[in-house]
């Protein structure tokens, strides 16, 4: 099913006889495998409203992210949370949609400075599991009118409702950017350097470690970037020599970090959200026991574990989740064959109170349990 209007979408859900497997562009095959009739929002497409002076854009859920980005680019604006394109990592085909991006709450390296997708999401329209069209939030930047279901819908992977329209806050594009590179730091020293940079007044908008390189990004007006690069270089020189990458090369470096393209050849990939200072110990522990590669983003707060061998992935992922449970971190299996995903919890199991509340909410939004059932565990 590929409804072309919100009304048709509502009708399709109201008349569904069994479970629905909901997709946007089908590029983010994440979560427990879902069995059900396919329902795609890809044909609900188009930008509804774009006001550059108000920093807001409203679009139907199936609108390609690339179409949004092109429209914003023409006004020198952007989606500041830098959404990841999953196609490189997952090897998927298709066109990422803005609805899919929101449903998976996809953010990139700049999340550390400006917030996640959910922080830029101003409003949603969606169809719940009974086929009712519901709106929440709006298209203004400050809005505390009623409960914030906008945040709840972001990252709910279509299990609470099927998005039909989203409105997003956008931000001006900076004039230029630069990246400082520190080579061959240990995990511990890398996180220490990134923390020092992020704790400085120099407005770092990216801090990650890929292969041997610890990368620190700054953006803004040219003179300002130059000034801050100097200050940060002085600050970081006690950790190692500091190289600098300019505008264009910096841009493609961070595109690669956002898309985790370095793990495109890995059979399985686990994504961990953790307190940055706890990342080195977790990385060392897992790498000591399992055959994994480690990448850092968000100053160490986001860890990517890449497993080359598929047959050992389930064990490694389980070990990562077990370790995360002890330090209030969480791990999600982003990439793995379907059999592996069926064998382990894809999402980090939560405490019984949170699980009961989440189940209770799902039962209200989707009383028949037909929206991507079981996808989040």
């Amino acid at each position: 099913m590929k409804p072309t209007t919100e009304r048709d979408l509502a009708e399709a859900i109201a008349s569904a006889k069994g479970p629905l497997r909901i997709t946007g562009g089908g590029t983010r095959d994440v979560g427990n495998p879902v069995v059900g009739d396919a329902l795609s929002t890809a044909a609900l497409s188009g930008i509804t409203l774009y006001e550059p002076g108000a920093l807001t854009i409203v679009a139907q859920a199936g609108t390609p992210v690339s179409e949004i980005e092109a429209a914003l680019d023409a006004e020198n604006q952007r989606l500041a949370f830098e959404p990841m394109d999953h196609r490189t990592l997952l090897g998927t085909q298709g066109t990422p949609t803005v609805g899919g991006m929101v449903a998976a709450n996809v953010s990139g390296p700049r999340r550390i400075a400006v917030g996640a997708c959910r922080d830029h999401l101003l409003g949603v329209r969606f169809v719940d599991g009974a086929g009712t069209v519901i709106k929440n939030g709006g298209r203004v930047m400050k809005n505390v009118t009623g409960y914030d279901l906008v945040k709840l819908l972001a990252g709910s992977y279509g299990t609470l409702g099927v998005l039909s329209e989203v409105s997003l806050k956008v931000l001006p594009k900076p004039e230029t950017e630069a990246t400082l590179v520190l080579n061959d730091l240990s995990l511990e020293n890398s996180v220490a350097a990134m923390s020092a940079a992020l704790g400085s007044p120099f407005e770092v908008t990216g801090a990650g470690k890929v292969k041997g390189q610890t990368c620190i990004r700054i953006e803004g007006f040219e003179a300002s970037v130059r000034y801050r690069a100097e200050q940060l270089t002085a600050l970081l020189s006690k950790h190692s020599d500091v190289d600098q990458i300019e505008h264009k090369a910096s841009g493609s470096l961070w595109r690669g970090i956002a898309d985790v393209s370095g793990f495109a050849d890995h059979a399985a990939v686990t994504r961990v959200s953790v307190k940055p200072s706890a990342a080195p110990a977790l990385g060392v522990k897992i790498a000591g026991q399992h055959n994994v590669d480690v990448m850092l983003d968000w100053g160490g707060g986001l860890m990517w574990f890449g497993m080359m061998q598929d047959d050992a992935a389930a064990v490694a992922h389980q070990a990562i989740q077990d370790s995360c449970a002890q330090i209030n971190a969480h791990a999600t299996l982003i990439k793995a064959p379907i059999e592996t995903r069926a064998a382990v919890p894809v999402f980090q199991p939560e405490n019984p109170t949170i699980t009961a509340l989440s189940d209770g909410i799902r039962a209200k939004f989707d009383p028949r349990g037909i929206l991507n059932p079981g996808l989040m565990g």
């Binding site: 505390v144 609470l160 300002s224 959200s273």
Partner: protein
């Protein structure tokens, strides 16, 4: 403003209820004499008052849990209260409720500069959170005008904003985790020192739920390193609409000031008489502040001033020193107090798309003439969050009702312009009955269904947020 009739059974059982609460709390933590409970009869929306059955001041999460468990078992409604600075009546009691004050939960539990967070008791005041990390040049970004007094608990309940959220976001964008007690006494942690939720984003749901889903006892907050410097510039115009157009042009130009504040003639004159900030004689003024190193500030301000010059300003005033900067902010920061000196006022909080600013300001002017009540406008222009102050005389019969009616018209205007009823103050009781103008019945139904999950008996702050008519069946079923 209508409130539900208090439950007579609960009123008649006051002695037993107080006794039960005294069993789980220290003696001085249960406040129950008529004279003492009067201190809790209202919040900053002082037009409405009602003393509660009693008030409790628990000093730990365990005590909060014990209080809620007892009230849950006795079927007694609980109204959580931070510092009582709500402008929306979020902490207004009913006669049959227990006020749960968070004031004693005010400790700093952990500061971590490496990972850039602080964990505090929810009763801690907003400004004292920054106070706790200032020596290391860090700060907590959301800065509501009441930040000297308001508690983090209330900030979370209302998802409070402030003058600087154009750059730093509001409470929900700076909240990493909470420890929360559900109405049945269950204690749970949501979020923590990591980013993003493992499953559903319950933290995002809790923030802004106006104390209706649980009582937050601890909060983990993101802290940021202070910028090297900040500098404001003042721009005076002879037309509200021109000032509004200037705001849109600044935003479109690619600079992102940390704040853009707007004041109209009534507020300019009133504050100048009061605070002597020396503001220019004009119809509208903007205060625009940017941050960074001195050279960065120079560059951004040059760009902003270039834009302003195209809008025929009466005056452009750059701060050349810290003292001049303080003078530019002085009037804005004392605006509410100054207006309070000349009249009673009701402060509205609707948000509109910035592009609708000229139209909405014009229409507010027309409404002011129709109703015969003066309106001052002072607000966060960068994000469209308006604060029209409607002046009235509380001692004049019918004036409050007239003021309420006019306020309702302005808020409906905000919704019709593509905005919303409240940008940072919350719905409380004040905007409760206007919710049907912004939402369809099914939009409210699903929100109330969320409350059903967290608080099936509708005991937590039950008469707020939703129109009484919409929530009636649920509240009555719970009795």
């Amino acid at each position: 403003m209508e409130m539900p009739q208090p439950n007579p059974t609960i009123l008649s059982r006051k002695a037993q209820i107080v006794e039960r609460l005294q069993k789980v709390l220290p003696k001085d933590a249960v406040i129950h004499t008529d004279a003492q409970v009067r201190a809790y009869e209202c919040d900053a929306l002082t037009a409405y008052k009602c003393p509660p059955l009693c008030a409790v001041l628990p000093a730990s999460t365990d005590e909060v849990s014990a209080v809620l468990k007892a009230c849950h078992e006795m079927g007694v409604p609980v109204v959580p209260r931070g510092s009582g600075t709500s402008l929306a009546g979020g902490a207004l009691p009913t006669a049959d409720c227990v006020i749960l004050g968070t004031a004693r939960l005010n400790a700093v539990l952990e500061t971590n500069y490496e990972d850039r967070y602080i964990r505090v008791g929810s009763g801690r005041t907003n400004l004292s959170v920054t106070g706790a990390v200032e020596e290391m040049d860090f700060f907590y970004a959301p800065d509501p005008s009441s930040q000297l007094a308001c508690a983090i608990a209330g900030n979370i309940a209302m998802n409070s904003g402030g003058a600087h959220c154009l750059k730093y976001g509001v409470t929900t964008n700076n909240l990493m985790g909470v420890k929360m007690v559900l109405m049945d006494g269950t204690v749970t942690e949501i979020g923590g020192t990591h980013l993003d939720a493992a499953g559903l984003d319950l933290l995002g749901l809790i923030c802004g739920s106006e104390g209706q889903l649980g009582v937050v006892t601890e909060a983990t907050l993101r802290i940021l390193r202070k910028p090297e410097g900040a500098r404001p510039v003042l721009m005076a115009f002879n037309d509200n609409e021109v000032a509004g157009a200037c705001v849109a042009d600044i935003i479109k130009a690619g600079v992102l000031p940390v704040a853009i504040e707007f004041m109209d003639r009534l507020c300019i004159e009133t504050t100048d008489n009061y605070a002597k900030a020396g503001y220019p004689d004009c119809e509208a003024l903007l205060i625009v502040e940017v941050e960074g190193a001195p050279e960065e500030i120079d560059e951004q301000l040059a760009l902003i001033l270039d834009i302003a010059r195209k809008h025929d300003p009466v005056e452009l005033r750059e701060a050349k020193s810290a003292e001049e900067a303080a003078r530019i902010w002085l009037g804005r920061k004392s605006a509410f107090g100054a207006v309070g000196q000349i009249a009673d006022y009701m402060c509205l909080d609707g948000t509109i798309p910035v592009s609708s600013l000229p139209m909405v300001l014009r229409r507010i002017g027309e409404l002011s003439e129709e109703y015969g009540l003066q309106v001052g406008n002072v607000f966060h222009a960068g994000d469209g969050n308006m604060h029209p102050l409607i002046l009235y005389n509380a001692n004049k019969e019918g004036d409050l009702e007239l003021c309420e009616a006019m306020g309702a018209e302005i808020l409906k205007l905000c919704v019709d312009a593509g905005g919303c009823l409240t940008g940072e103050h919350g719905v409380g009781i004040e905007k409760r009955d206007l919710m049907t103008h912004q939402f369809e019945p099914q939009d409210l139904e699903i929100q109330m269904a969320v409350k059903d999950v967290f608080d099936p008996m509708w005991l937590l702050n039950p008469a707020k947020v939703f129109p009484l008519e919409s929530s009636q069946t649920r509240r009555i079923a719970a009795e």
